[in-house]
Amino acid sequence: MAFNIVVCVKSTPSTTALAVDPSTGKAKTDGIQFGINPFDEYAVEEAVRLKERFPGAKTTALALGPESADGAVREAIARGMDAGAVAVLPGWEESPYAAAIGLAKAILKLHAESPVHLVLFGKSTNDMASGLVGALVAARLDWPAVISVKKIDALDEKEATVHRMMEDGVDVVKTALPAVIGTVKEINEPRLPSLKGKMAAKKAALKIFKDSDLGVAAEAAAAVKAVALEKLSPLPPRPAGVRVDGASPQDKAKKLVEILAERRVI
């Protein structure tokens, strides 16, 4: 038996500098290019490295959202993954809660075809930025989860030893498989897509899961309204700053300390 690895990817705007559309209260994305969420590149790269480490391993990129979510899946294939699937549930990608329900169902479909060992995620997304979907998918599947992983150490088909970056140091965790692993930037340095990969991405026949395939039609309304984005607003302007001038660095340092003391931040 060979390793079967799924990487969940999301198609997101390639810039975070977006304006708010006052009529919808959502971000204006007309004319904005979408691509694979930058954090997902680390998860994709890790899957490709695992394939190099364990020849014969199979890697599948999975995205959820409108049909155009296939863009992120094809980018993952261009970066070296083998196959792709899209859970076509438009609107669900806006809510981490709903997205996790849909992704978990799609992973179960893939798992039924060929048992999955690892599901990899990026740290977060550059749009809704919850950093929750991996942990939620694990909870929905009732699989173990380790997030903030910077190294996948020993690995066999039953168990993985991983190092995770904590707020105060590094934990080593041993998890039974199948498991969900959330990655951080330190795990690797993603390679760029290769020409061969790009060709494969273009041609790849992706698996398409519809709501009827996933059996989620009945849950749809509740899943999407459990937490919904009501409105977006720009950041309030910061109060105008002061400039510290002085004849010498010593002079400036002294003035700065006086201001900090006045503001009671030191």
Partner: protein, 326 residues
């Protein structure tokens, strides 16, 4: 109908972090306007009575103590099972957890187990007419998203340093012992290697001193560390210097690094790429020291100091030491 708010607290490496008290204050911002009780649950492997007494003094009506040696090292799988039973038995509608790495895992398990809507890194909460909304930063911190909950139960992960730390007050809440049978654990803690001694965690730091390209070389971080030490601050860095290997990734502030929300952020030689600003723009006071007076960081700063960091920081350290000594 589910009712009431439960703040979930647990020690980390045997210590109840001060940021845990922020879950109580956040819970109160909901319980107050909704006219509902605020209770707390504390999960610990040992010293449970001590933690429960501490938490009970800070405002909750009741504190459910869930203690079992199996809880000594954090496990979302072990912790979630007794919490789910408690929440269902007592009928709590809202659960508040601090947004740490472990908090995220635990909150996700509770959300799925209770079919409760969930929002992470929440820094603003409001309850009006029984309806709860949460504010959090989206699109790299460039926009503020307001999210409304539509599920009967809700789980909120609150961003550290966004709510006050509940202080001891009035008469203490009642401590009650809760069922503490752990859930089955498949992801097991093996070992822990702490950060170098004396390093303050960025995520819950009230003061942060960060260095960037303007330092000139990796050596500049000696000065940054000294300034941080004098200020009692955590050390941060821009992506550029982390990528150059001047300082480890754990210090990176910004979109691909950590998000900080300190009272004071000192940006030393950091021009302010949008990705960096995403991680620190909600700091209450931003000091920028930079040779380029027109860079984004200097424009955003509450206090802009034009000049070379290598010339300004040494006298700044001396001034701060003088004041400390005085």
């Amino acid at each position: 109908m589910a009712k009431g708010t439960l703040a979930v607290l647990f020690p980390s490496r045997g210590i109840l972090q001060p940021s845990a008290y922020e879950a109580l204050a956040a819970g109160k911002t909901l319980a107050g306007p909704l006219g509902e009780p605020l209770d707390a649950a504390i999960i610990a492997g040992s010293k449970g009575a001590e933690f429960a007494k501490d938490v009970a003094a800070r405002g909750p009506g009741r504190v459910h103590l869930i203690e079992n040696p199996a809880f000594e090292n954090f496990s979302d799988e072990a912790y979630a099972a007794p919490l789910k039973r408690l929440i269902e038995k007592e009928g709590y509608a809202r659960v508040v957890v601090v947004s740490t790495i472990n908090g995220r895992l635990l909150a996700a398990r509770l959300s799925a187990a209770l079919n409760a809507g969930i929002a992470a890194d929440v820094w603003g909460l409001a309850a009006e007419g029984g309806r709860v909304t949460a504010k959090r930063s989206v699109y790299g911190g460039n926009l503020i998203g307001e999210f409304a909950f539509g599920s009967e139960r809700q789980v909120m992960l609150i961003q550290p340093l966004s709510f006050e730390r509940a202080q001891p007050q009035g008469s203490p809440g009642q401590v009650v012992t809760a069922d503490s049978a752990p859930g089955a654990v498949r992801a097991r803690f093996v070992s822990f290697e702490p950060q170098p001694a004396g390093e303050i965690d960025l995520g819950s730091a009230e003061r942060v001193v960060s260095g960037g390209r303007g330092l000139g070389s990796a050596d500049g971080f000696k000065m940054i560390r000294e300034l941080a030490q004098v200020l009692g601050a955590a050390v941060g860095a821009s992506r550029a210097v982390v990528d150059s290997g001047w300082i480890p990734y754990r210090h990176q502030v910004g979109l691909t690094g950590r998000t900080v929300r300190p009272k004071l952020y000192v940006a030393c030689g950091i021009s302010g790429q949008i990705q960096h600003l995403a991680g620190m723009s909600s700091a209450a006071n931003i000091v920028a020291i930079n040779t380029d007076p027109d860079c984004p960081m200097m424009k955003m700063a509450s206090i802009a100091v034009p000049g070379d960091v290598n010339e300004i920081i040494p006298p700044l350290i001396a001034e701060l030491k003088k004041r400390k000594g005085a």
